[in-house]
């Protein structure tokens, strides 16, 4: 007997602590079993990768191995830019490590204002609002803009943050078939004429890397009296003459009412934002719960964002290198015989489509063991139940790295029987 008295020597089994029918965690049994079955097959867990060291925008150490990064959304390679890092360090020294508060109360510092000024300059808009993440920008904008009895019309392949923005709000939600102008037109035509409507689109859809026919879709939305929000998270910095996104490339600057974006991709830090020319845009700050009821970004983060955004305004050479890399990779993978998400190279995402989870994980693991990291994606995140290996390209990938990537894909594809 121990000194603490009459207690069991060993803990009772977990199952006995909560009856299964009352255990709220029981609903995850299916997920736990599926993951366990995958782990039991001896593969590396794709959702437990740790970057032990990060050497540059394109190189890290994973499991002690030098690894080329091809799945990070670090499109413009700004994370190690000396000016960006200097801005962050200076803000850390001058303003401390955090804000301890909401944007609405004590959480707005000099550099939050500077980041919003940089966004207004970058996008050429009268308004810019910074949120704590890109997810919260969509959550906040959609749930706040569209009220009871009004409609959100969204693409079926929309990002989770758009779906969750719909769930958080009280509007009626209508979904149309991915990138179908005709389907959008038909559904808008069936809605009450006088009701407020917001059509939510994305410039680049992140799973397959395909681009929206925004010009046609925005025309249809306007015809039915709807306002338009475009999420340009995966196009900032390299689409359009000023890098503003697909909407700029398609000549829609006067027609898209709200543009949502993120700092966690091309900008190279964390945070989200919405820009707009609407004269009443500032009112969002007074009504938007995901803006008000959360802490603002740390000063160092908004300082790095501001510095990075200003550099992206003139990053013409980087843009050209990014597109060169993307086209080389797309053409190379296609020539090797891989099935890709898009026929042509439409964005800085190249998705390799695979048969099933086993094949996807097998080739993913072979790539990782050979020093290449890509994203693996599976339903429900992916459209039409597909299993994908997603490559996101960086302007800082060297031609030698892109060639090494193609060699590794060729070897892994053959080793797993994915290609001949």
């Amino acid at each position: 007997m121990t000194e603490t008295g009459l207690q069991a020597e060993t803990l009772p089994p977990l199952a006995a602590t909560v009856a299964p029918e009352r255990d709220l965690m029981s609903k995850f049994d299916g997920l736990i079993a599926e993951r366990q079955a995958l782990m039991d097959s001896g593969v590396i867990d794709p959702f437990a990768i740790v970057m032990e060291e990060v050497r540059s925008p394109t190189e890290a150490v994973i499991k002690g191995r030098e690894t080329i990064l091809l799945g990070t959304y670090n499109y413009m390679g700004m994370t190690f830019d000396p000016d960006v890092i200097a801005a962050g360090k200076a803000a850390l020294d001058r303003f401390g490590s955090g804000t301890n508060g909401s944007r609405m109360l004590n959480g707005t510092f000099r550099d939050h204002m500077e980041a919003e000024a940089a966004l207004r300059d970058f996008y050429g808009t009268t308004g810019a609002i910074v949120f704590s993440t890109g997810y919260m920008a969509n959550l906040g904008m959609i749930s706040t803009l569209v009220g009871k009895g009004e409609y959100v019309i969204l693409d079926a392949d929309s990002h989770a943050s758009i779906y969750d923005g719909c769930k958080q709000g009280v509007a009626e939600i209508v979904r149309f078939r991915h990138n179908s102008v005709e389907d959008l037109d038909r559904r808008l035509g069936r809605l009450p004429k006088d009701a407020g409507k917001l059509v939510v689109l994305e410039g680049v859809y992140s799973m397959l890397g395909d681009v929206a026919p925004l010009k046609e879709m925005v025309a249809v939305a306007k015809k039915h009296g709807a306002m338009v929000l475009s999420d340009e998270a995966h196009s900032m910095g390299f689409y359009g003459p000023n890098g503003r996104g697909v909407y700029e490339a398609q000549g829609l600057e006067g027609d898209v009412d709200f543009v949502v974006g993120t700092f966690s991709k091309s900008v190279g830090t964390v945070g989200g934002f919405c820009v707009s020319n609407h004269p009443k845009f500032e009112a969002i700050r007074l009504a938007c719960r995901p803006y008000i009821f959360t802490a603002s970004l740390p000063p160092s983060v908004v300082a790095t964002a501001a510095a990075s955004i200003r550099k992206l305004m003139t990053a013409h050479e980087k843009r050209a290198r990014l597109w060169d890399n993307a086209r080389t990779l797309h053409a190379g993978l296609k020539a090797l015989g891989f099935k890709l998400g898009t026929e042509t190279c439409d964005s800085a995402i190249v998705a390799v489509i695979l048969e099933d989870q086993e094949q996807a994980v097998a080739i993913w693991q072979t790539l990782l063991e050979n020093g290449l990291y890509v994203n693996v994606a599976r339903p429900p995140a992916t459209p039409a139940g597909t299993f994908l290996l997603r490559c996101s390209i960086c302007a800082e990938h060297s031609p030698a790295q892109i060639q090494a990537v193609l060699d590794k894909f060729a070897a892994a594809g053959r080793a797993t029987g994915t290609i001949d």
């Binding site: 389907d183 038909r186 559904r187 069936r190 809605l191 039409a384 139940g385």
Partner: protein, 81 residues
């Protein structure tokens, strides 16, 4: 034949291509439990029903519809509006 029966028959006809297990279709048949449809199948099917009847079934409404009978009633109501 009543209006409701016509709607039921049309809905049943739209279900058939997705009825891989040959489940008997009644008012009480559930999409998730009996037909074992995943969210992608539901989405394709709802789009087909919307186009067939020239209506919009919002996602808010879809969340409330679990059986064929509930869908038929929803379509009947939407057609009247």
């Amino acid at each position: 034949m009543s209006d409701r029966q016509t709607i039921f028959d049309t809905v049943a006809a739209q279900i058939e291509p997705f009825n891989k297990k040959g489940v008997d279709l009644t008012d009480a048949t559930t999409f998730q439990g009996d037909l074992e449809w995943d969210s992608l199948t539901v989405m394709d099917f709802v789009a087909a029903i919307e186009d067939e009847f020239d209506i919009v079934i919002t996602m808010n409404m879809q969340a409330e519809i679990e059986t064929i009978g509930q869908l038929v009633d929803a379509v009947a109501k939407l057609k009247d509006d």
